[in-house]
């Protein structure tokens, strides 16, 4: 039994959104069926013949890991029941998206100090504040995040607040405020963390935002800001 929607409803529910996305899947069973099973089997057999890392390599990696854990844990004493921020679990080379930074426990009270330290690397507009962003931590349930991922969230929060400042300055016909925000927006795509963890087209999006601000395209700027900077939620 199928039904046809002859006119679009004002809002689509989550199930319909799921169906739309599923229907846009570019690789279905028919595509996979065209993949040569023989080529796959050859690939499998070749890989299983690959040389393994030598014990010396593995020892060196283990030593690096232990030293890094010792440096990061420092003098912290783990009390019974206390959830420490350090997992001792690092993204192994070749496995993580961009780096070998440690996975931190987001449910640890210590995460607050880590976030606090990261926020000092990014300026906010005069009317900006980190308080809304910071209140999401520590989380109530166990969750891990790499340091770089956390910093990406902090950077996103800062850039969103600068975008808001540009919108407010433009609406208030306050050229000094809008110009100050514009200068930061020009720099955002070059922030080191953006280059480090931009796995998609995020930097292109940020360049586009800066260009829209230069062009004074408030409508499009505001639309993209609204889509990517939801109020009240941590980003990243």
């Amino acid at each position: 039994m199928k039904r046809m929607l002859v006119s679009p409803p004002a809002r689509w529910d989550d199930n319909e959104i799921d169906q739309l996305v599923a229907a846009a899947n570019p690789v279905d069973a028919s595509v996979l069926a065209r993949v040569s099973a023989q080529s796959l089997a050859e690939l499998r057999d070749h890989m299983a013949g690959e040389r393994m890392p030598t014990p010396a390599c593995q020892r060196r990696r283990a030593v690096i890991l232990l030293v890094a854990v010792a440096l990061m844990v420092g003098g912290t004493t783990a009390a019974a029941g206390w959830v420490g921020v350090h997992s001792g679990w690092f993204g192994p080379p070749g496995m993580t998206e961009s780096d070998t930074s440690e996975f931190l426990r987001q449910d640890s009270p210590e995460i607050v100090a880590v976030i606090d330290r990261l926020t000092h690397k990014y300026s906010l507009p005069p009317e900006g504040s980190w308080s809304r962003f910071k209140r999401h931590w520590p989380l109530k349930e166990r969750a891990y995040i790499q340091v770089t991922g956390l910093e990406g969230g902090v950077a996103d929060e800062a850039s969103c607040q600068w975008q808001q400042s540009w919108l407010d300055g433009t609406a208030a016909q306050d050229p000094a405020r809008a110009m100050a925000a514009q200068q930061v927006l020009d720099q955002v795509p070059s922030w080191p963390i953006r280059a480090k963890i931009d796995g998609g087209n995020l930097r292109q999006h940020l360049r586009n935002m800066a260009a829209l601000a230069h062009a004074g395209n408030v409508t499009e700027f505001s639309r993209l800001h609204g889509l990517n900077c939801p109020a009240g939620s941590p980003r990243g």
């Binding site: 169906q19 996305v21 599923a22």
Partner: protein
């Protein structure tokens, strides 16, 4: 079971799922061959540390990270994948749906797009997505809900831009009851 047999079993069990994941996201279908080789080479080298209870999700997590590296630079050609690359080169993937849902997905943030596609293209549950992304199931549910809201906004804006007589509206496609 010896190491080679364990690897072959892992490959047979999960190669289709990992390949589909990569084909859906690689810039060129042929790149998926090199990326697949990278994923399973990582698996071969780390075979003893792969979690037995969710090996498939571990492989998707590796694929995700290798894909992230690939997007930052040219794909590294892997000789092992030469034959496989040849089979992918002429491959054309399914076209976007009427209404441009993939185009709308491209307008979202990477994070939103990733959640929506892991859920609906790779058929992962929120708990499974949480394992792949390293976040809790609850966090995934919340972010997924927000991502759907943002996709809905983009689609509605596209719909308004096309006007009321748009025949290509995504929801004019038949939906199951």
């Amino acid at each position: 079971m010896d190491r080679r047999a364990r690897f072959e079993a892992l490959f047979e069990a999960h190669q289709a799922r990992v390949l589909a994941y990569l084909l859906r996201r690689a810039e060129q279908p042929a790149d998926a061959a090199d990326l697949l080789a990278d994923v399973f080479l990582t698996a071969w080298r780390r075979l003893d540390t792969i979690p037995a209870d969710h090996a498939g999700l571990w492989l998707i997590g590796v694929a995700r990270k290798i894909l992230g590296n690939h997007r930052r630079g040219a794909v590294r050609r892997n000789q092992l994948a030469d034959r496989l690359r040849e089979t992918f080169a002429p491959m054309t993937l399914s076209a976007d749906t009427p209404g441009g849902v993939r185009e709308a997905l491209a307008k979202l943030t990477k994070s939103d797009r990733e959640l929506l596609t892991l859920s609906n293209w790779d058929d992962l549950s929120p708990a499974e997505i949480g394992i792949v992304l390293g976040v809790s199931q609850g966090t995934v549910r919340v972010r997924l809900h927000r991502a759907k809201r943002r996709l809905r906004n983009v689609l509605q804006e596209g719909d308004r831009a096309r006007g009321p007589s748009a025949d290509s509206h995504p929801l004019r496609a038949s939906l199951p009851d």
